[in-house]
């Protein structure tokens, strides 16, 4: 057990090695990271530096080869698949670059999905979905299908889906990667608003403009944290 006062995420010496045939690829090396509640952190770096791998481990989509990881004070590095699934569902909200909305489900059904897996009652689901969509300004498109929305609107729905379960942290993987600059700006504004209202956000981006929206930026290179900048430094 680690100190939970203010610390939401703590990583010590996390490594990730991929084995392909006889080739070992060291995607992450000696990652030490701490994220406080309410922080907005961005992970930046060139393509292939390990950003998304780090986010996958942070989001419990993957497990580290070595090292320790505590989420909200609980060690989560060596959990079983079902335990990881449960924590992911309750404590992490995902926003993907490709939105990853399910084409055959309506906006309402897409946002409702995490609550369905959690076993939330229909009445509560309805209320929470409505609130989440109102927060992202998409409450008027409940019955639309993703294909009927613009890219920016789809990403707002994806954000609503990430928010609906009141997660401890939002994990955003290149949330503007599939958007034009206008819609990209809008989504970044939305994330900033959420942060201002207390959300903890961890975002992967290779775009320095968007990395600057965060209060902390971790720079990765060849799987290692090579630099960390804070809002004040960025602004300087």
């Amino acid at each position: 057990m680690v100190e939970t006062n203010g610390t939401l995420i703590k990583m010590e010496g996390v490594k990730k090695v991929f084995y392909t045939d006889e080739v070992e690829t060291h995607a992450l090396e000696e990652i030490h990271l701490e994220i406080k509640r309410g922080q907005y952190i961005s992970i930046a770096g060139p393509s292939g530096c390990g950003k998304s791998t780090l986010l996958s481990i942070l989001g419990l989509l993957d497990s580290p080869t070595d090292g320790n990881y505590w989420l909200n004070g609980q060690p989560v590095a060596k959990l079983t698949i079902s335990e990881r699934t449960r924590i992911r569902n309750r404590e992490i909200g995902f926003i993907f670059q490709a939105f990853n909305l399910i084409g055959d489900l309506t906006v309402y059904e897409n946002v409702e999905l995490p609550l369905t897996y959690r076993g939330t009652s229909a009445a509560e689901r309805k209320q929470k979905v409505q609130q989440a969509l109102e927060r992202v300004g998409m409450a008027h498109r409940l019955r639309h299908y993703p294909s009927q929305l613009s890219g920016g609107q789809q990403q707002r729905v994806a954000v609503a889906r990430a928010l609906v379960g009141d997660p401890l942290i939002l994990m955003a993987d290149e949330p503007t990667g599939n958007l034009d600059s206008k819609n990209g700006e809008a989504v970044m504004e939305l994330l900033r608003d959420l942060h201002r209202n207390g959300a903890t956000i961890c975002m992967v981006t290779h775009d320095q403009r968007y990395a600057n929206f965060a209060e902390r930026t971790i720079h990765l290179f060849d799987g290692r944290i090579v630099e960390e900048t804070r809002e004040a430094e960025v602004g300087a």
């Binding site: 995607a27 998304s52 989509l61 993957d62 569902n89 993907f96 084409g103 897996y117």
Partner: protein, 810 residues
Amino acid sequence: MQTLWQDLRYGVRMLAKNPAFTAVAVLTLALGIGANTAIFSYLDAWLIKPLPYPNSNRLVIFESHDKKKGWTREYLTSTASFLDFQKQNNSFEQTVGWRGTNFNLTGDGPPALVEGGEVSWNFFDTLGANPILGRTFAPDEDRPGRGRVAILGEGLWRGRYAGEPNIIGRNITIGGEAYTVIGVVPGTFQFPLMGIANLWTPLALTDKERADRSNSTFSAFGRLKAGVTAEQAEAESAAIFGQLETQFPQTNENLTLLVDSMTWTVRRKEGVPELLTCFVIVGLVLLIACANVANLMLARAMGRMKEFAVRGALGATKRRLARQLLTESLLLFFFGGVAGTFFGLWGVRLIESWIPGHIRGYLVNYGHVDLDFATLAFTLGIALLCGLVFGLAPAFESARLDVNHTLKEASSQASGSRRSARLRQILVSAEIALAVVVLIATTLLVKSFIISVHSSPGYNPANLMVAQLALPKTKYNQDAQLRNFSEEVLMRMQALPGAVSVGAASNVPFGGFGQWVELQAAGKPSPRPDERLYAHFTAASPQYFSAMQIKLVKGRLLNSGDGLGSSPSAMINQTIAQQMWPNEDPVGRQIQFGEQHTVCTIVGVVNDVKMHELRPRLERQLYVPLTQFPSATLGFVVRTAGDSTAMATAIRDAIWTVDRDQPISSVEPLETLIAVVDAGNRVVTKLMVFFGALAMFLGAIGIYGVMAHVVSQRIHEIGIRMALGASPAQVMRMVISQGLKLASIGIAVGVLCALAASRGLETMLYQVAPSDPATFLGVPVLFAAVALAACYIPAQRGMRVDPLVALRYE
């Protein structure tokens, strides 16, 4: 032409590139097409091809018909009436009388019972048969005392007489009398209404028989004059029989003679209704197989949309793309047809091996069927037709391709993919519906057969040996001789070690002999011709009933007291009791039967027994003492404590100890006789089980194929769901519920269709309602379980989806 060649080459390459897909599709089609080929071969041989006689469309059989009661039967009204008709009619080139007979053949080897017939002199000429040796009968040889001549079948000539070239003019001994062989007809000659036949003698009617206006002991057929229709012949017959009715009202009231196509009569006996049912069922199985392959092709086409988009971008027209897919489809179905031909050939041989020997004689070409040009043309035609029809769906989808959109979007997100998925879901639901119809139909037929096999025959056939024989009239022409023979044989059989009880009767259930007599309560006026009652007649020894374990219902069994010196006694079955003396006690009443109007006192009533078929039907059965009514045809029954088959040799010896020259037609367990008689139904039942299982198997493959494809298409979606917290169990439930939803729609539609279709099976069902609740509940439950199992493997794959891989993280 050049582009077609290109399409063909590319099609072959694509099929070779995906050997698993090609193998599954070709195998599926081969099963469906092969089943159709096999059944069509029989349909072609039995239903489409004409009978193997010259101008067989002019051959008709005669049937008696009661205008008032409406019944039509395959025997003549009376011999005298038929002879009158024969003289007076102008419609027929030839009319021929015939009756099937078992001949006792002695000399030239062990005594043998040979199947054959007594026939009018013009029998062979009318059927266009040419002898390979000698001649056929001359016009005057079917007169009594003139016709001590015989014609041999090639099989008998080559077998018993070792193909002796000088057989013509030789004397052979039939029933103890010498007959001169005048001809040998080829083995290919066959008269299916007579069954297996190898020996023919003239039908020599006595003057008494010729004058008989009450009965007839033979059947008849005729050849219409060229240009005369069956309707014209029937109109002439009606006029002649109208005159006979006026002349002989006592015997001919309401009776007339109808003509019926010989071809259709043979076909009815061959089991054409059952064959047509099989053909419908295999047709449905083929549709299921085609839907399966169409599904596979559709999935494959969807996976190739990018390829088609690129082709489109490079200038291929939509028509060209559609044609390419259609060519591939036709190629696939062609290969399926080729493989199906081999399956069909194997199926034909398998079915032929199931046909028991004793019924082969009633089948055209003795049940042997070859895969000829017509069958091959049918197979190829059906393969290409299905290829065209079921290849249209993927071709149509490719024609609707939006090149720009498909090049930009992931194929799984393309609207065409969703449309294709819907089409595939419709196909699989339809396929399941068809499979349910097939399974319900086959289950009803199989259940009916099982019930008929297991329903009590009215006696205990287990551990019971039956020896059948016919004593020659020349040697046993006195009642005392007949009586002595049966009593001596019974005495010897009773002494056999292992024999628990022994009996004898003039005929036994499912045996080769039978006799029917007219019946009426004694002292009552003679019934009108259309009100006559007939009963199956059996002269039995007192121990016959205990040996057979036939139950006494009322009164007493025949016993040794019912002998020569006592008044004639009889026993009747429950059907006679209920029909002639409803709500009265028949015991002690007198019954009159037969041409001699013999009167007997009824001493007891026994339960009904199955005599000729396993499906019980109301049949009047009359029993008289064998001592009082000795019989030349005999069936000895020997009940043993254990396995009765070991007694066969001892039983033969017991008979031959009494008469060493007496041919024995068979010594077999009664269970074997029953099984042989019911073999035709067994063949149909085996086919039904096979086709039902095949339909279910193909249906299961269909669900599996669709669900496997659905899962592969939804890997990304499942990845999203798992990233959002869906547990593996939730993913499994999702996949299975989707599969079960498709199955449920198919099952529901199938049940409704089966409810409508099963009415057509009503006449083939015994003690099973066309809407049998157990079948209509059991089959859907079974299919749901199969669907569940078929969904399980794709669902497991869905469970194992790694969200990270599915979402394509680095």
